[in-house]
Amino acid sequence: MGAIIQYIESYLSSDKTPGAAGNMFWALVYIMLVFGGLSVAVIAMNWLERKILAHMQVRLGPMRVGPHGLLQPIADAIKLLLKEDIMPAEADGFVFWMAPLIVVLAAFTVFVVVPFGPTHAITDMNIGILFMLGVSSLSVLGIVMAGWASNSHYPLIGALRSSAQMVSYEVAMGLAVVSAILMTSLNATGTGTLSMIGIVQAQMAQHEWFIFKFFPLGLVAFFIFAVAMVAETNRAPFDLAEAESELTAGFHTEYSGFRWSLFFLAEYSAMIAVSSIAVTLWLGGWLRPFPNMLSGTPWDQIFSLFPGVTFLFFAAICFYNTVRMPKHPLFRIQTIGLAGFGVVLGLIGLVLFVPAVSVRVQDIFWFSAKVAGFMYMYIWYRGTFPRYRFDQLMQMGWKVLLPMGLGVLILTASVALLQQKLWHP
């Protein structure tokens, strides 16, 4: 027993990610944690998207399954698992079967290098960002396979649209990423890094998030990435591949049940993945706001309260709505459920106030909070924008974002060079 505690403590004081330290056991635990957390995030995202979108559209969204529809995603998951698994008679069976797996695999594998904190990543690769971009663009392969194997016109067009779109936006995305990576090399040694953790540490060392670096160059690069990442994940207003009004459901028209839900899972985890890239590159990753300006023990303590306060706030919302629940006996179970959910959130919040916990968790909290901001933006876009047309989308990718990306890259490089040569010779 003592040996186990010692083992755990030895890990907790480690300053390396388990993968980098070569600790297979902890790496496995981390993989479990990340994928579990990701699944929970997708479920939460499903509910939140429906609720937020509904409230933007003067309706209520799911209200029946559980209090305020909280159990709706679970009900949907069960429904999808129980549904008949249909494969079109003329489909290419093996490819049809493989396609969702590839998409899901690509979407999940990228999380190997996502840094939730300086030590909170499965591993830290020295080519982390390249790995992320490379693996996340593999999902287009699955989409093309799905469209082709369905042996049907709408999926085929959807898959072609999707592949053209992802390939062309990848270029602009890559240029924006390179300009951020250039910024990591602005230190005494002049060597940059591709490691996800290294990029965040560079922002810490330079006392500046890269979005504000060389204003407005960092901002423009971030903007390019922010547009390209929506296109990359096939979300509104770039959801041509699954344009409901045109192609019924695009590449996954012929998919049903669990296979379909794999595409769904992949779409949402890809959204989280690209948002993580954006957060890592431009928004300081796990860094809390003003880590340098407002440093020192009192500030550290104040900011370490944030995770707990957030959860308590959510709990308060739950309790507020518990009070507002209809008093009819039919709603008793729902009311109890909502109160119970509030209690769980509140307890989590209280646990997060324990200093030993809050110190280790606040990196993850800030990272998740920033990603959640992006998730909200995704939902907001969907509620606001009409859909681009295919040629307009390509035009925007090649004629607007690509030149912009090139320009920003050249300007960033020039400014960085000037700064190193002139101001810090």
């Binding site: 559209q57 003067v58 016109h153 067009i157 207003p237 409901e244 681009y388 047309r389």
Partner: protein, 384 residues
């Protein structure tokens, strides 16, 4: 593969004319079960990649033989059937039919009835345009306006429900006037609706008119010239967006539209964006007409003297009104009996749908959806 019972065009079958189906071309069947074909329209698209080389509409999936039914019903009994044609503008359909039969019988509805008719018909125009706007925006990918327009359309439906008990297929008018006197507070509720609705039009426009993606998706899409419109018989907002100032409310005033002061909004380019602007402006003009009508609502009888058993003298009559979607005409041949000898409807949707091919050729698949939306067809009216 070829079904001998399918007697559609060579466009779909491909087997009659092998030169049609080049290796690069793709025949896609859109509908009748498709989310964006507004009911059961079936469009067969011939595509080169995403580009539309040609298309053909297959209609008739909602055919109920309304015109034939008309020959076996008395004039009064047929009245509710017209509501089922363009079910989002049932009141307009009813107005057209009642006025046609009145013309045949040589009676005229009393002024109060005329005023109420105008109020309800213009409310219906707003409701129809709202439904068009919501679904059109939804087709183009903006999902939110749909809920806004449906929320506001509800207020109109509430007025209908209070007036005649029905929301959609209202059967609001009778031959010779109205069956029901307006309910208490009718004028106040209509006025309340007008004050409620004026800012809502701005709200819709705020979402779309200057939205960059919306403008890109609709400008220069589905362009049609005024000549083509006239040649194809296209009427309504589609014709006016091409720059032709033709509105039956002004050109051949019916009901008592000549008493009201309003303008006919026209477009310039005849593209989807102009049609959108024209319809938005029409909603504003409708508000203006309703305001005048409700302000000057006269007292008096609501029903003209009409025989219980209608036996119009033998003869024929054509009468058309400006329905929300275009010219809605009724042609009735009477042989002096209680039933029409022949009843023919000229539905605006059916005629406007002819323009689909001309508007879509050379454009992309996504534009076909936009054009179907902008034509504002109702399949109940196309197939009858």
């Amino acid at each position: 593969m070829t079904d001998p019972n399918t007697t559609l065009s060579p466009l779909e079958l491909g087997s009659h004319d092998k030169t049609f189906l080049d290796a690069n071309e793709l025949i896609i069947n859109m509908g009748p079960q498709h989310p964006a074909t507004h009911g059961v329209l079936r469009v067969i698209l011939r595509l080169d990649g995403e580009k539309v080389l040609g298309l053909e509409c297959v209609i008739g999936y909602l055919h109920r033989g309304v015109e034939k039914i008309g020959e076996h019903r008395t004039y009064t009994m047929f009245n509710p059937y017209v509501d089922r044609m363009d079910y989002v503008a049932a009141v307009s359909n009813g107005l057209g039919y009642c006025e046609t039969v009145e013309k045949l019988l040589n009676v005229e509805a009393p002024p109060r009835a005329q005023h109420v008719r105008v109020i309800l018909t213009e409310l219906n125009r707003i409701a129809s345009h709202q439904l068009w706007l919501g679904t059109h925006a939804l087709d183009i990918g903006a999902i939110t306006p749909l809920f806004y327009t449906f929320r506001d359309r509800e207020e109109i439906l509430k007025i209908y429900e209070k007036y005649c008990g029905a929301r959609l297929t209202t059967h609001a008018f009778r031959i010779g006037g109205l069956q029901y006197e307006t309910y208490t507070g009718f004028e106040k509720e209509v006025k309340n609706f007008l004050t409620f609705f004026r800012p809502k039009i701005d709200e819709y426009e705020e979402l779309l008119t200057t939205n960059r993606i919306w403008v890109e998706r609709t400008k220069n899409v589905g362009k049609i010239s005024a000549e083509d419109c006239i040649a194809l018989g296209v009427t309504g907002p589609v014709l006016r967006a091409s720059g032709v100032k033709w509105d039956l409310r002004k050109a051949q005033p019916y009901a008592n539209y000549k008493n009201f002061d309003f303008e006919i909004p026209i477009g310039e380019n005849g593209d989807t964006y102009d049609r959108y602007l024209v319809r938005m402006a029409e909603m504003r003009q409708s508000v203006r007409i309703i305001q005048q009508a409700v302000d000057a609502l006269p007292e008096g009888p609501i029903m003209a003297k009409v025989p219980k058993v209608m036996k119009p003298a033998a003869g024929e009559v054509y009468h058309s009104i400006e329905a929300p979607k275009g010219e809605l005409g009724y042609f009735i041949v009477s042989d002096g009996s209680t039933q029409p000898y022949r009843l023919r409807v000229r539905p605006p949707s059916f005629v406007n749908l002819q323009a689909l091919d001309a508007m879509c050729r050379g454009q992309l698949v996504a534009d076909v959806i936009a054009v179907i939306g902008t034509l504002d067809i109702v399949l109940g009216e196309v197939d009858r």
